[in-house]
Subunit: 499 residues, 2 copies
């Protein structure tokens, strides 16, 4: 057995019953234009005929749909019943048809399935796992007869139970609600690996893993799963010895050859966090060389003359120049590498040298007049400022001033993912801007709750309900673990500062 | 356990591999306008991308499709692969879209299914059983990548193996081919019950059962299945104690309340045939009263004055007056009842009396001038003449003359189902018209083979390739056991007469 599979454990299964019949109504005042209206509590059996039936399971779940059906009393179904299932994390997925474009993600991601039932009474499950709260049932046969649905439940799966999370209460109702949403999000994404989101990719991305692990250390403490995932990256390097941005975890695990350099470097952060949170030196020591090789690769790609790193980085969704952010991220990683090296009694001299060179390059982008970091082409982004702060190249006072100036200027290129927002929060906490950070969490994540999300979404913009990195918000993941780090910040700082 | 389930046995499973890649081409000279053209032998893995792939399994099978798939070498499928499966017993089912009308059978009967594969490598089956030789594979995701199909086979099921059939050779190549097609058809329909056809209803119809049992006594001798099916009818009577036309066999067995009187009477034929073929008196004695009750009900529905039976009968597909055929069928049944009663030492006097009355009523339809049986409204059908002969109300010479006259006149209302054709053959054999019967079998069933059928179809007309009792020939069953009785006739008469 491969070492990463030694840490794989059976998932926990939980029966989740359907709770209510609902309508989804168009409402221009509702989030994304759709409002959920409860019709009645679920009671069995219920009739499925010519009219669609929409079901609410009361919360977001990840699992396998189980259905039982029979004919109406005194009338046997004398031809097969073809049922179409449309699953939705959000009402828009039930109500709007997806129109694929050549730019869009594959329509294979739509949570849409069929079951052809030749004989009743019937009882069975859908083979594919879905991630949803809402379910639309539609007959696609000729509906010459009604049928009765006698049972409908989710065999919900996760590596953890909500009850296992370390209890936490801040005393503030909104903060506690946000914490609950974040913990639930992490729970839904903890499966055989830390999935980015259970609706779509269901893959292990290292950028996401780092954030998920940070929250997990403070909630479920599922250390085995963290180890499994770190090993999955470390033991599946690409042809150049680089950590892949993501692992397709199914056996055999598979990686592509393309990279995001920030994601490759992220292994350093994972090991540093792991050591800090578990005190276990064995794993970081074992994988130390692999982690350092990521820095060595980045150093080679780092062109001191042009002050650029010649390799692609993710940083955040969107179209903008990542050169400043990439340098800041590199410096931030080296800082963590130095911490790790010291704890493991390894040489740090070479790291100090690279760190200084990277910071020097980064500072060439500092525009003293504007008080901001600006690219050669004059581009100013939130991402550049945040990563300039996190690089550690500035003093705390300079950092705080840069934060102030950024907020004042409010550059048009804004952070678009909650993933990037995590690092903005880190910048705020780094500058001791506790109140600003907490207010930001309340405003941004509080708005998610107000919008009807049960879990933290993949992308969220207070100013644009239909924001999507794809061609349609229907494809967005409404349960995405890179958005669940408020639980990390809240639990760390409320505990530390006893706010 | 119910007695009918005591005779239920596990099905036999057989792995059947895909044999060839084919094209189905439009060809006005081909049967139903479509010609199968082989492209190549199957070899694994094969690619499934933007283009549909059509597979030939080399023969007709009934079972569960099994598929295995993986990504192309060096390219993992990074979104789910949605595959649409269209199954066809005949090429037209693959090539033409079905347009449902309000008159048509439910579109639920179409052999069309989906599988959404989230991760590869994948291996699995479709849940619903299908009946087919041809399979069209179509990608319904965005097809951003090709996949490889690494295995594709049918887990074919039947209560019997072809190898179990009693060997038979007539010395005539065409007759042997027809016999093989018939035995194969019966094999495909022998499942947990004698199904009418594995593609559609999959139900136990007693009119079909009688013919299937006749063939089975001469081929597989699956007596347990025959007993199971007879019990299923006898132990699931309707509210008036009548045998239902069909039983939905799944637990619990279900019957509708409507009847076809000829089908209710058919229990008498099943018991009579059973006794004759097995020599076992126990089952017929046990169910004797139930069988006689069908005759008593028919007697009550028989209006001597109007010479009509006031109850619906099936007789054959089509729109025509069934009054003469229904009387002929009733008389035919009473004849079998008398034979059964004698063997079981029961009273036959009352049967003699009813028989004479029914024959008397039947003969009122005899038109001496025309030499045919004609309804009050002057309607002349093949069905009326055949059942007048089988009633036994005429002498053999009269019957032979009626047959001659019928052929000469060729009434416009023709037999439309091979089920009815079976009774036409019986009339021929009854009149000792061996050569005519054998020629008819060669012509009619030979034409089925020439048309590309692997099994005997539900309906077949030499003059109308698109004949259907439904709204589209796509819904026809191309494997229907009521059409497989040539094996009964051939095996009985070739053996008896040593032709």
């Amino acid at each position: 057995m491969k070492i990463f599979d030694e840490y794989k454990k059976p998932l926990k299964h939980k029966r989740v019953n359907a709770t209510a019949f609902i309508n989804i109504e168009k409402d221009s005042n509702a989030f994304q234009g759709y409002k959920v209206k409860k019709i009645a509590d679920i009671s069995f059996p219920f009739t499925l005929g010519k009219e669609d039936v929409i079901i609410d399971f009361g919360d977001h779940y990840t699992g396998y749909l189980h259905i039982a059906a029979q004919g109406m009393p005194g009338r046997i179904p004398d031809s097969p019943t073809l049922i179409n299932f449309t699953f939705g994390e959000m009402p828009i997925e039930i109500s709007e048809k997806f129109v694929p474009t050549t730019q869009s993600l594959s329509v294979g991601w739509l949570q849409n399935d069929y079951k052809s039932i030749a004989f009743m009474p019937y009882e069975g499950s859908l083979e594919r796992r879905y991630s949803f709260r809402y379910l639309n049932l539609k007959r696609e046969d000729s509906v010459y007869f009604d049928v009765q649905i006698t049972d409908l439940f989710i065999d919900a799966v996760s590596a953890v139970d909500m009850e296992e999370a370390i209890p936490f209460s801040s005393g503030n109702e909104l903060i506690d609600k946000i914490d609950l949403m974040c913990v639930k999000t992490l729970k839904e994404c903890e499966q055989d690996v830390f999935e980015d989101g259970p609706k779509r990719d269901r893959r292990l991305w290292i950028g996401d893993l780092r954030l998920q692990a940070l929250v997990d250390y403070n909630t479920f403490k599922n250390i085995d799963l963290i180890k499994r995932c770190i090993y999955l990256f470390a033991h599946n390097l690409n042809n150049e010895g680089l950590v892949a941005p993501c692992v397709f975890p199914d056996s055999p695990p598979y990686i592509d050859q393309w990279i995001y350099l920030d994601y490759s470097l992220c292994l350093v952060l994972c090991l540093s966090d792991y050591l800090e949170n578990t005190g276990d030196e064995e794993l970081p020591a074992e994988l130390y060389e692999i982690a350092m090789n990521q820095i060595k690769y980045a150093e080679k790609a780092f062109d001191r003359k042009s002050a650029k790193i010649n390799a692609p980085s993710f940083i955040d969704h969107g179209e903008y120049d990542r050169c400043i952010a990439a340098l800041g991220y590199f410096a931030y990683t080296i800082n963590h590498a130095k911490k790790l090296a010291k704890k493991l009694s390894k040489d740090t001299e070479w790291l100090d040298k690279v760190y200084d060179e990277v910071c020097k390059a980064l500072l060439t982008y500092r525009d003293e007049d504007k008080g901001l970091f600006v690219t050669m082409e004059g581009e100013i982004s939130w991402q550049s400022q945040v990563w300039a702060i996190l690089s550690g190249a500035l003093t705390i006072d300079e950092s705080r001033e840069l934060l102030r100036k950024t907020k004042e200027t409010d550059p048009k290129i804004r952070m678009s993912s909650p993933f990037m927002t995590h690092y903005y929060l880190e910048a705020l906490f780094y500058c001791d801007e506790f109140d600003t950070a907490v207010d930001y969490i309340k405003e941004y994540w509080g708005a998610m709750i107000d919008s009807g999300f049960d879990c933290c979404p993949e992308c969220f913009d207070l100013r644009d309900e239909m924001i999507t990195p794809y061609s349609s918000a229907i494809l967005n993941s409404a349960c995405h673990a890179w958005s669940c780090t408020p639980s990390y910040w809240i639990r760390t700082y409320y505990n530390k500062n006893n706010i």
